[in-house]
Symmetry: C2
Subunit: 187 residues, 2 copies
DNA sequence: TTTTATATAGACAGACTGGTCTGTTTTTTA
DNA sequence: TAAAAAACAGACCAGTCTGTCTATATAAAA
């Protein structure tokens, strides 16, 4: 998707800064000085800071989906592939750059009326839910479509709370507990 | 705790605006015009906007703890009092003023380095967890202290995800699913 | 080589922010 | 009634922010 080298560098730099310091705490001047490009160049590629925000969300989401898909695929088929979600999160948590859920935090920062960014995030979470649905379908022997969906939703909720709460409490007990509840659900 | 009528009015107005429109989107000028007080008066009661933020968090938290304690107490002893947490949330969700978790959203808005507000929120979540521990102790016949804590933490996680995700998806399925998983845990 | 597109640096506009200060008026207390 | 405390209005300050603009340099395409 990278339409140009310069554009990629902007998105990568902005993503790093947005995730580390927050959307509102990161000014466009910081983005341009950090990525070593001119302001006019930035506004040549993005019509507004909000547009960079969407590119940031897309960038993080795409990397996340790719990573987690690869990570789960490496496990033995069955419940392991589902529980791997929480092992992935555990690694993510231990990373020094872990800073919670970029999506939820970013949406919390933007004004209420900015529906576009909200919609983008909803779509991404929906995609993540679909990934879990695929995992459940493949790894658990469940007949009813409705039960698959329900199970996936519950795993999704557990995962999401594990991200947010491990970040908030600066401790990995939410990840461990969420994984444990998950295993109770799927076994 | 209301040290004065004026102070109370400031906190109530600021809380309403912070919760509805967000912390950064609400300026002190808006707070003073909405509450009909002078700017000097505001800065006579609070040394900075951050201080108003803490008062806001305290105000919302105190009301929440009081409400949820009263709400659960009204149910029959046993699992009902625990599941009532999610019924309370369902009512909260249906309220036109529902706007997610004020704490998580506010902390997401403030700069990384503002440790004070983070610490306040952690303390409040810890208090909420203690409330759940008390509920579990009272209503479930669990002997081991460690198992009580573990159970409470899991209920806490389910509740938190239900708040955040029902808000994000603008739908109450997270509340229903969280409640269902909770009942599986405690029965 | 000339043209065209895209990069550069950085000044600038204009709106908005949190917070201070002066001076006046009202309310409470003694 | 006199004194003290706390409210008022609002100008003002210093700084931040996004986004625009000018003018120049570079690199690719014709």
């Amino acid at each position: 998707m990278g339409r140009s080298k310069v554009r990629d560098r902007i998105v990568e730099t902005a993503s790093k800064l947005f995730y580390k310091n927050g959307y509102n705490s990161t000014g466009v001047n910081e983005i341009i000085s950090e990525s070593g490009i001119a302001k006019a160049t930035l506004y040549n590629h993005f019509k507004s800071k909000d547009d960079i925000c969407i590119a940031f969300l897309d960038f993080k989401h795409a990397a996340f989906m790719e990573d987690i898909e690869a990570f789960t695929k490496d496990r033995n088929e069955g419940v392991d592939q589902i529980l791997a979600l929480f092992d992935y999160l555990q690694l993510f948590f231990q990373d020094s750059e872990f800073n919670g859920c970029w999506g939820i935090k970013t949406v919390a920062e933007i004004p209420q009326n900015n529906q576009k960014i909200r919609t983008v995030l909803q779509g991404q979470k929906r995609e993540f839910l679909d990934l879990i649905i695929a995992l459940v379908t493949k790894n658990l022997k469940i007949d009813h479509q409705e039960e698959i969906k329900t199970t996936a939703r519950r795993i999704y909720l557990l995962y999401e709370s594990a991200v947010v709460e491990s970040h908030l409490h600066q401790n990995d007990w939410p990840i461990k507990e969420a994984k444990e509840v998950c295993s109770q659900i799927i076994i």
